[in-house]
Symmetry: C2
Subunit: 417 residues, 2 copies
């Protein structure tokens, strides 16, 4: 029998009615002939309550205890869903992370999955057609025997890792949106749902702020070659045509995408801040003098632009940080002024980053140049530019974000079906 992983997030299992809806989705796939492993998150609100209690218990709480407390949320959902499935006549049992086990490293609250034992699940598929209902977001550190969690969004990673372990045909991520869009439909109503997107493109979209999936789960899908299907959990199971099964976005290998577009999507982020350091001596070691202290302060630097020196002696250097880190970054740089030896520091928090993503850029020249021209025609000033193999980003005034997104969305023909 082909195998399938189905993952449901917190809003999809928020109460017993929704859990029953999830059970009907599972039964539909079982009836269609799949051996199914379901991965569930905690019921919406439950994790927040557990986190609040932990904070109340001790502001600087032990991460091992925090994980033991927070992991219970997923265990409850797994048990309840197994009960509902059995009530519907579907053979099912729940699995906690330590039971399977899902082995992780020791980095409590942000652990990485090391190994998933799928053998017992496969045995139960084959012998009893038993659905596995697995608590997501959690694992076991073998050395200490303690419960670990993967951090927020970790249930996606659990699902993809389990799909790899049982060699599933696909990993379906049920969520509150029905797929991945060419851009945010709230900004550009003409945004279209993508039928397919390559792992690399999804990675760029995920890390650039499209909130559909966590970066780590997409990465894992790419490495393990697990096809991930993003779809809505709010569609009624009885409204789904089992033969077409088409409402959603498949994240897959680029080789599986026949009609590759040059540009796949436009991402943007308004939580950016820009810092420009003026008249820095253009000498070896200056970048280290700037970014060393920032790294020590645990500040995540994103775009970095350094022009070649005009006068041969000094240059300007611009970088961006999350706007929440802006003040800390300023202070860090000012404290290092003697070592860096710059003239002036300029900053701005009213900036946004807009990014264009597409695997087709690899083989198409001039994609970015079109964008620069279109933006300038709209009188949108570009503060900085960075590029990679399959995307480029521009830093602009935040006030122009929506206009820039719509301009680029139209420019690359993403409006059209």
């Amino acid at each position: 029998m082909p195998r399938l992983v189905m993952k449901f997030g917190g809003t999809s299992v928020a109460d017993m009615d929704r859990i029953r809806n999830v059970a009907r989705h599972v039964k539909r796939e079982v009836d269609a002939g799949y051996d199914v492993a379901v991965v569930v998150s905690a019921m919406a609100g439950v994790t927040n309550q557990l986190v609040a209690w932990s904070k109340e218990a001790a502001p600087l709480h032990d991460a091992r205890e925090y994980d033991a407390v927070v992991a219970t949320g997923e265990q409850v959902t797994a048990g309840l869903l197994a009960m509902v499935l059995e009530g519907m006549g579907v053979n099912a049992r729940s699995w906690q992370g330590w039971q399977l086990p899902i082995l992780t490293d020791n980095a409590h609250s942000s652990a990485r999955i090391l190994d998933v034992n799928g053998a017992e699940l496969i045995k139960r598929f084959d012998e009893h057609k038993q659905v596995a209902v697995i608590a997501g977001f959690q694992g076991l550190h073998k050395g200490t025997g303690r419960v670990t969690t993967l951090g927020r969004g970790g249930s996606d990673t659990s699902a993809v890792a389990i799909a790899a372990a049982i060699k599933a045909e696909r990993c379906d991520i049920y969520t509150d949106v029905d797929g991945v869009y060419t851009t945010d439909p709230r900004v550009e109503p003409k945004a279209r749902r993508l039928d397919k997107i390559a792992f690399e493109e999804m990675l760029e979209l995920a890390s650039l702020g499209a909130k559909v999936m966590q970066v780590r789960s997409v990465e894992l899908g790419m490495v393990q070659n697990v096809r991930i299907f993003v779809r809505s959990s709010f569609v009624k199971p009885e409204d789904i045509n089992p033969r077409s099964n088409s409402a959603g976005t498949l994240i897959c290998d680029e080789a599986d995408i026949v009609e590759q577009q040059v540009v796949t999507g436009i991402a943007f982020s308004k939580d950016e801040a820009q810092i420009s350091i003026r008249r820095v001596p253009d000498r070896p070691g200056v970048a280290a003098a700037i970014f060393g202290p920032l790294a020590d302060a645990n500040i995540n630097v994103d775009m970095i632009v350094q022009n070649t020196s005009a006068d041969g002696a000094t240059t300007d250097l611009t970088f961006t940080v999350p706007s929440s880190d802006y003040e800390r970054a300023r202070i860090t740089i000012e404290r290092a002024k003697a070592a860096i030896n710059y003239e002036r520091l300029d900053g701005a928090t009213d900036v946004a980053k807009v990014s264009v993503i597409g695997i087709g850029m690899r083989s198409h020249a001039g994609v970015a140049a079109q964008a620069f021209k279109a933006l300038s025609q709209q009188k949108i000033n570009i503060r900085a530019i960075t590029t990679s193999e399959i995307k480029f980003s521009v830093l602009i005034d935040a006030a122009h974000t929506d206009e820039a997104v719509r301009t680029l969305h139209s420019l690359y023909g993403l409006d059209k079906n």
Copy 2:
């Protein structure tokens, strides 16, 4: 170092303020030189929510899934208390049932503890002075690797079993009352707290409806010879004199009780119903014809009184059942009328059982006779009597319960200090 088990129930850990209060109790004992294992229940209300969800999931839910869901309540409390203790500078870690492990049989939702591994706890006491915070009420079935629960009140049993495993000097049960009383103070304001009570006496009190401790935990304490100290969790830790430590009741071996009283306490139960079967043939097999069908219907019969036959041919037989089972019991007997061959069935639900308990009865004659006389002087009619080695019970009209309790409480000098 001497070792101590401290157990806190649901109302004692109902919110973070109370959990902090519990932590101060623990710290007090650590400071006094004890190696401490703490056993906790779920926060009051949490278990009820988990049970309600389970019932909503499926009326006839899988007990294995139910246990997996419900056991999370205690895991949360254990983690939170460990955090609070660490925040107070006390080295602590939480243990779930499967981690220690606490091994049980496979009777999900009412499992029995088979073995508690105390070696790792003792090692951590000795090497790190680490407090163990253990989720009560739960265990692991080794064969299936699944989480089990011990049923309501099971945390007391967990605590006593752990005390036996680590050879604790004492098992302190912190509860919402400050000990075991000679009778219910709501009925007899002169009721006194007992300083000590023998295991056997406590067993009779517990099974007769004094709600301080579960029967199984007292049984286990008796078999393993674990001294159990029942005390209040609402006393402020700083108000306790570490040298006297006296506010509570010690449940111990009778040999440890120097000044043994003849009567220790008066218990009563108003949830009784009486069924009398008139003119049953006085022949072998008639008791089986009556109690066989009741047992098959899973009805728990308590007192049974059968007089020797007066006419040599027929007799009357009276027994009691919980009042909630009264209707089912009547119907069961009426259905078996042909096999039993009785003349008439009389029933009453307005009856109560009052019991007098005391190990001293073993060596003192006439204790029951005094009671019969005192009750008759109060014009309280006795419907039935049963006796055992260390207690006797009378069945009376429910309306006279309080009066009977007070009469007997005074008769045996329990009012006096």
